[in-house]
């Protein structure tokens, strides 16, 4: 029986790890991770936005989050009385909103553990911290964008383009960035592996173009032997001595 290709191995391992770890996340980790996100986002939000007349995040009885973003001195939209200024914008966020910003961790763990690297503990710890921090920053950015959208809402001169821009940015911040972030962190933390994965194609190309030891020189004018797999190095038969110096003829 032939061994599965690296692509298939990685896909099978990562899929299995993703299913197991995301179930663990759903069953056991959402509570602690949400509490952690609330604390760190509260801290980073206070640093970024300054002090507010209310807490940045409070949890309601139903488990949803009440958000209070300080917007000191911001002018309200056209629907408000002329000259009125706001100190903060408050809105309620369903629990599923912040939950999306905690899902990066099981995804990161699954991608990392499905690799073939031997020493995993350091990248696991560093990536966990980086993913958590990145997701928290993304969450704080999302809160600020949402507050800006709320502020602009009653403005009568708001064009469809501005509305589209706010909708698109919220879609990216809530649905795309939190899901994509762990993959990017995993790629960065394991950039050597990544270079290995995506660099094989370049190495094959370089070998074929330069006609190095693994590729016989006579293949330059003949056909290139088909490789066993896209990720395997190109293996040609050892070049005969006569062919190693083309100038001999």
């Amino acid at each position: 029986m032939s061994t599965p290709k690296p692509h298939a191995r990685f896909l099978l391992r990562a899929s299995a790890a993703l299913i197991v770890l995301s179930v663990v996340w759903w069953v056991a980790l959402t509570g602690p991770l949400l509490a952690g996100l609330r604390e760190t986002a509260g801290f980073i939000g206070t640093l970024a936005f300054g002090s507010a007349p209310c807490d940045l995040i409070t949890v309601t009885a139903s488990g949803d989050w009440n958000i209070c973003v300080p917007v000191a001195g911001a002018q309200s939209g056209g629907g408000s009385p002329v000259g009125s200024r706001l100190n903060s914008v408050e809105f309620e966020l369903a629990r599923t909103g912040p939950l999306a910003f905690t899902f990066g961790l099981p995804v990161y763990w699954a991608v990392l553990l499905s690799g073939t690297a031997r020493r995993r503990w350091r990248p696991l710890a560093a990536g966990t911290i980086a993913t958590s921090l990145l997701e928290t920053i993304l969450f704080v950015v999302f809160l600020r964008t949402y507050a800006a959208a709320v502020l602009a809402q009653p403005d009568p001169v708001r064009t469809p383009a501005v509305k589209w821009l706010f909708d698109a940015s919220q879609y990216v911040e809530l649905n795309v960035a939190p899901t994509l972030a762990p993959f990017l962190v995993a790629m960065y933390v394991q950039r050597d592996r990544l270079r290995e994965m995506f660099g094989v194609a370049g190495r094959n190309r370089a070998r074929l173009e330069q006609g190095t030891d693994r590729v016989p020189h006579f293949t330059r004018s003949a056909s290139v032997p088909p490789p066993q797999s896209g990720l395997e190095p190109v293996r040609g038969r050892p070049a005969p001595r006569d062919c190693q110096t083309p100038e001999r003829g």
Binding site: H7, F10, L11, A14, S15, L18, I19, S22, W26, T96, A100, F103, V107, A110, V111, Y171, N175, V176, T179, L180, F183, M197, F198, V200, A201, G202, N204, R205, R207, L208, E209, T219, R220, S223, V224, P227, S229, G230, L231, V234
Partner: protein, 99 residues
Amino acid sequence: MQDGCNGVNVTILLCSAILAFPASWRFRALGFLSGSLIIQALNVVRFISLYYIGQYSLSWFDFAHAYLWESMLILDTLVIFWIWVSRAGLSGARANVNP
């Protein structure tokens, strides 16, 4: 079913990655076409699985719909791109060696 459920976001992700990678336009077009077809096929599998999970439990449906399948599709797209890159490298090499 909404716009985001048709796999267009991961298709855009794959197309962006393919566009950014140095390869011939012919091979890029092949990547777009085959990659999009694979993603759509996976999306059909996703619909079917979500239907059965929804019959079992709405809470697990939410989990599978909003979190698990989203990440699985990105993972699959990453592997599709990986396969395409390895094929693109070999194809480019053959083209350069045998002009």
